[in-house]
Amino acid sequence: MGKTVAEKIFDAHHVDCPSGDIHVISLDAVFCHEITTPIAITDLMERGKDRVFDPSKIKAVIDHVTPAKDSKTAMQGKILRDWAIRHGIKDFFDIGRNGVCHAIFPEKGFVRPGFTIIMGDSHTCTHGAFGAFAAGVGTTDLEVGILKGVCAFKKPESIKVNIFNSANNPPNSGNLPKGVYAKDVILSLIGQIGVNGATNKVVEFCGPVVDKMSMDERMTLCNMAVEAGATSGICAPDMVTVEYLWQFIKDEYTSKEAALQSFSKFRPDNDANYFKIIDMDISSLQPQVTFGYKPDQVKPVSQMEGTRIDQVYIGSCTNGRLEDLEIAASILQGKKIADSVRGIVSPATPDIYSKALDKGIIKIFMDAGFCVTNPTCGACLGMSNGVLADGEVCASTTNRNFNGRMGKGGMVHLMSPATAAASAIKGYIANSDIYLL
């Protein structure tokens, strides 16, 4: 019997099987941010175990509230900063060099095919876009990861999601319909399988549409796997993965083909056993928008058109990357957002911000009337930089529409950057198709 990507990665990292179906695996990377790590650090200190398993495999960033907004968040940053210095953690990203964890860590080349990664953050599943097993964990698992470089999981079964477009000619060209993006694909999938549809499972994305996707798009796809309950999203490594990573791995391999050959050991076998296989034809998919307090409550934009909004937020680990800003800017170019709407854009990393400046994208946003913030997670979870007031509505490119998520009493409608940009101009939820050539 062949193996899935996750099974191959688990086999390559086996440490122990303490009982039944529990597998302790070794970790290639432990990612940390200032919200969930400080309590782990404090607890380790109280236990007299203030150690790290390997400072080169620990990466840390201050991203959720940055710059610090008050004494408490300043202290969280300080605990993380002091700890990084104390243990010689060189890959620590502080203000000015910091970005949203799930955007900056891949950008720095810290994620490789076949890696095992944990972080005290549920959207860690994003990094599966590189053919890694990457799982969000709580503070205790993080603490053990920091201390011992291991984590325990049930060996997850995988759900294969084969994404194709039957309207394409030739049939395997993998093109998305006009105005439809990776965000719409994943929202549609979550709507189909539900917020519990992949609990304890890995979602392995494949098919012509995924093959054609850039790494930015694959990260958007994998990022929201957890909204269906998945442990990790995964895209098998291919030449797109190699091209993205090449600047970091060119000294390790003689050629890109050699790198691909090496990474191919983490591609699934043809006869791998899946818990379920979902064939997803996106030929008639429309842009998707959420309507309730759960990410599986999605409708085509045509049914949401005209919904009042107070704020538009473009950013986050889901959709704050360069391609996302480019798409939104292509719609906003030469236009103003509605007077009734507050527009906020947060490029996810300093590098994305800088490139967006060079390409004139930031100017387009500013001319349209957007506020451009520094890279941070803040608004997405109602911590800073764009919190909603009671009764306000936000059109958002983030990943969660939970009650109170972006501020107590606020309503969040999740959508793609294109739909968010079109909605900003109109002042209500709108389809981007009228602005697309």
Binding site: S19, R47, M75, T124, V137, V144, N196, T231, M383, R400
Partner: protein
């Protein structure tokens, strides 16, 4: 081991997420105790009264996919500092479930039909649970109404409950 006995708080809804259990704005707290007043502050649940309904409760009985969303261990901690160490449901989100056992608390799955029966019999009554860790049973009690519900947890999960959590276990074994 922690206490797994006491009065029941029924939360009759599936997909209750960790933002509802403890909103993100409280994640800036460094101490677990500071989370105490904010438990279930943003829950969407008809008739739920945060100020009255939590006090004196030690066990939560709820529906499916409990604890979905964020990985925040602040969710189990917010229960713990309110004296609640046991959640019974027909299903849990993976991270929440693991966080509970990692803290030496219990997230126990029981069959949906059995859960329906418990809700039907007890949800509108002043109910208590007695947990027998040797026999692996929950005894639901409301006046003279008694229902014994068997449960299973894995040997590994039980070892975490006995050890009081995963940190010491892992440091000793790996």
């Amino acid at each position: 081991m922690k206490n797994f006995n006491g009065k029941v708080l029924f939360l009759d809804r599936s997909d209750i997420n960790t933002d509802e259990i403890i909103p993100a704005k409280y994640l800036t707290e460094i101490s677990k105790e500071a989370l105490k007043p904010y438990l279930l502050e943003d829950i969407v649940l008809q008739g739920f009264n945060q100020a009255k309904d939590i006090k004196g409760k030690s066990v939560v009985v709820t529906r499916d996919n409990f604890g979905c969303g964020s990985s925040r261990e602040h969710a189990p901690w917010a229960f713990e500092v309110n004296g609640i160490n046991l959640v019974i449901a027909s299903g849990f989100a993976r991270i929440f479930r693991q966080n509970m056992f990692n803290c030496g608390m219990m997230a126990v799955e029981i069959d949906k039909a059995l859960l329906d029966r418990i809700f039907n019999l007890f949800a509108d009554k002043d109910t208590a649970v007695e947990t027998d860790m040797d026999k692996m049973t929950f005894k639901f009690i409301a006046d003279d109404l008694i229902e014994i519900v068997p449960f299973t947890i894995s040997e590994y999960d039980f070892s975490l409950v006995k050890a009081g959590g995963w940190v010491d276990y892992a440091d000793k074994n790996y």
